[in-house]
Structure formats: C-alpha cells, structure tokens
C-alpha cells in the first residue's frame, strides 16, 4: 500500500478505536506495532523524517535579525557538530553557565546566533494536531535523528550536571498540586496503566531506556512530532500544575534524570507513537 494511504488507514483505525474498548485498543497497539516493524524494514517511510528534513533546512537557512544559520551552534561537541550530540544531552555549557537540554540549547542558539527574541521563539513551541511541526520541533527532530542508533551517554563531569541530576531526581518524587501527584505516582512501578494507556516505570533502567529513546516521537493520532519538553508539559497539565516555561530548569533537570535512568539505551528518534 502506498505510504499516504497506509497512514490514512491507520488514522481511521485510531479514530474508530476511540479508546473505549480493550479490543479496539489492543488492535490499535497491534497496528502501531506493525507500523513500527514496517518502518524498521523501510526506515525512509517514517513520516517523522519529514520533520527532520524540515529541521535540517531550518538549521542551514540564514534567518533572523542577524541573518545567520545555526551551523555555528555548539551542541556540546563543538560548533556545527550535530552528529551524536543529542546522545550526550543535557550537559553543561560554559557560555551559558548552565545545564541545557536539546530544546533549551536550540533556543539559546536561535537567540545568540540568529538574534531572535526569546519571547518570540518560545511563544508557540508545540504544534497542534494535524499541523506541521513548530520550528523548534523540526529542529529538535533533526538533531535527535542525527544520534539515531547511538546510546545515551549522560554527562556528569561538571558539578552543575550532577546538581541537575540531583534536582531532577528530587522533582521526580516531589508531590504537589491539588491532586498530590508526583511523576512517580504514575511512573513508579511496572505494568501499570491509566485507563488502557501503559505507563513506563521510569526509575527502572530497562523501561526508561525503551521509553526515553523514543523522543522526539511522531504521534500518529496527532499527525505531528512531539518533543520531550512537550511530553513533560502534558504530564504537568494532567497533574493540574500550571503551564511550565519552555526550556525551563525543571524540565531540563527532569530530562537529566530520565536520560540518566535511560543510560546506555539506544536512541531511535523519531519513533512512532500512538
């Protein structure tokens, strides 16, 4: 079946599943799994790669008040070195004097190299269903995809990296808000689910490796890519907490914790998710 038709058929299957019956949900999961298998056989049919391509074009295009590309952006291994950079993020950046994840680093480079206003960059970081990805989503997908097949190698050489990990771990277990939820409330045990949605036990390396290595992910039900910052923002939304700033220290610290749990896990971005 041609790729477009296949995605359309899967989208119909997802809509009709509606989440109300186990069998429909199982069917959906099976279809997504079949889709993943097909992508393994033919990786170029992954629709998330369209975003990676768009991100690559954005990376190389001269833009912003300074009319500069992002090719001089240092993602940790030196200016312009994209290959493998994502596997070592978040990490400490001396020029910013702080620990940054991929997304907060992209914002930093867009500000410093291209001269964009911070407020403007982070205004709409997440695309809505069935829209093209935001610039940040496309750029993040491009950079993450350039670490595809590599393994998470978290950086803990700098004291601020170790501090970020400690803060991230504390945040993961911190109970707050009107529902008293912590991240660990839903992600602190194996085999649990909300309704029929399975929940990874993120403090268990085997499960963290599988879960964390999938982001940024292409959401078939949304027709768009979703980044780790977006994933964390949605968790906080469900926890009844306020909308978190894009690229915030809390999201970076949590990502540091997750990546450390997922240490050694293979990166498969962008993976296909329901």
């Amino acid at each position: 079946m041609p790729r477009g038709l296949w995605i359309a058929a899967l989208a119909v299957a997802l809509v009709s599943a509606g989440g109300l019956h186990t069998r429909a949900q199982d069917d959906t999961e099976r279809e997504v799994e079949r889709y993943r298998q097909m992508l393994k056989e033919d990786p170029w049919s992954n629709p998330g790669l369209l975003e990676a391509d768009r991100g690559e074009a954005l990376w190389k295009e001269k833009r912003g008040p300074k009319d500069a590309s992002l090719e001089a952006c240092d993602l940790g291994n030196g200016p312009g070195k994209v290959e493998g950079a994502f596997a070592q993020l978040p990490r400490f950046f001396a020029d910013a004097d702080k620990v940054m994840d991929l997304e907060s680093r992209l914002v930093w480079c867009m500000e410093k190299l291209q001269g964009f206003e911070h407020a403007q960059i982070v205004k709409r970081p997440y695309s809505k269903a069935n829209q093209a990805g935001s610039e940040l989503e496309a750029l993040a997908t491009y950079v993450a995809n350039k670490s595809n097949g590599r393994r998470f190698a978290p950086q803990l050489g700098h004291p601020k990296e170790r501090e970020a990990l400690a803060i991230g771990e504390a945040l993961f277990f911190r109970r707050q808000g009107p529902m008293d939820f912590a991240c660990a409330t839903c992600h602190g045990d194996s085999g649990k689910r909300i309704r029929l949605q399975g929940l990874p036990y993120l403090s268990k390396p085997e499960e963290a490796r599988e879960a964390v290595g999938q982001w940024p992910a292409y959401r078939v039900s949304q027709g768009t890519v979703m980044t780790m910052q977006h994933r964390i923002t949605d968790c906080f939304w469900q926890m009844r907490l306020p909308l978190i700033d894009y690229g915030s220290d809390v999201a970076v610290a949590l990502t540091m914790y997750l990546v450390n749990q997922a240490k050694g896990g293979e990166i498969g971005a962008p993976q296909i998710k329901r």
């Binding site: 109970r175 707050q176 689910r193 909300i194 939304w237 009844r240 306020p242 700033d245």
Partner: protein, 209 residues
Amino acid sequence: MRIGAFFTTAGAAVALGAACCAASLAHAQDRAPAVEAAIKGSWTRTTPEWRERLVQDETQKLCTLYRNAPPGDVANAIRAREKGTIQYPSDGQLMGDWKRGEKLAQSGYGWRFTDYPPRQDNGGNCYACHQLDKKELSFGTLGPSLLQYGKARNHAKDEVKAVYDRIYNPHAALPCANMPRFGASRFLSLEQIKDLVAYVMSPDSPVNK
C-alpha cells in the same frame, strides 16, 4: 519562610528517630533549596494564584521526604491531621445517587489549565486508576480493583463510611496514599462524593452486579 518550615519539619522527623536512611534524608534536605529555586524559575509566565499549586503542604512535604513510606510516628501525625479535614453531610446520609456517581467515575474533567472557565462539573476519574463495573473494560491499574467492592463487604454501614473517608481524604486511613484528597482539596463536593460512595457501595450499582 516555606523552606524554613520544610527544614523544621524534616529536622523534627529525623530527630524523632526515622529508622532508615538518615543520610539520604540529610541529602534531600541539602537539595531542597536548589529544588525550590528551580521551581521558582520555571513557571514565570503564570499567575501567583497558579504558582500556589507548586507550594507543598505539610503532608506533601513529608510524603516526598519519605518517598511515601513515612516512619510510624510521622505516619501517625499525617493520619491525625488529615482525618481532621473530613467533613460530613449534616443529615449523616453518606450514600447519594449511584447513576450520577457512574458519570463522575467516568469523567476526568477539572482544574487542568485548559479547564477554565469551567465548562462542566469536575469528575472523579475513578476509571483512570480503578476497575469498577465489569462491563467497563477501559480501566486503569494504578489503584486496586473495586469490582464488587460493596457486595464483598455486605454493603455494611461502617464500610460505607470508610469509602466516604477514603474518597474525601485517603491519608486518614493510609498516610502517603497515591490517591488525591478529593474532598479536602474541594475538588469534589460532598454531594459528588456521596454519589461516588453509592456507585461503589449500593446493592443497585452495576459495580456490585
């Protein structure tokens, strides 16, 4: 002030002789100011009213500190404090309408930042975590199955009250429970809690069929 209060509480807890992990408790306390600073800097675009949600109350602080396994004396203090929050209907009637309860058990609406201004009543979202009616196959497993919960307890009066208390404030029975304090937080009204009690406990409810 808040951080100061945290230290006092945590210090008292350690002094009271938490059997385990005094070292890791000390680490958690060292870390607390950095955690609070990160939180303060990460929600700058929201209102002070919303930021209040990030401030922990005493029970949240203790359950965080002990990772939901508080030592005996701390558990007793939590139990006593949270029990004191439970309010009862003036007529003493703890069972409402199970049909309304069923709707509440299905709904996860309320208090998310996209839920304002409110377009419907808040829901209890029981099915997110519990199995209840055997016909509803889309149930979560974070909490225990409540299939035939009332029937298994002969719909007894004291069991009815226990369920009411459990929904209103689960920490009164189980300090550092995962379940939200639906009544104490005012997320659900007394009437709504009664409807949920009926859904779990009534002989007519499909949960007990």
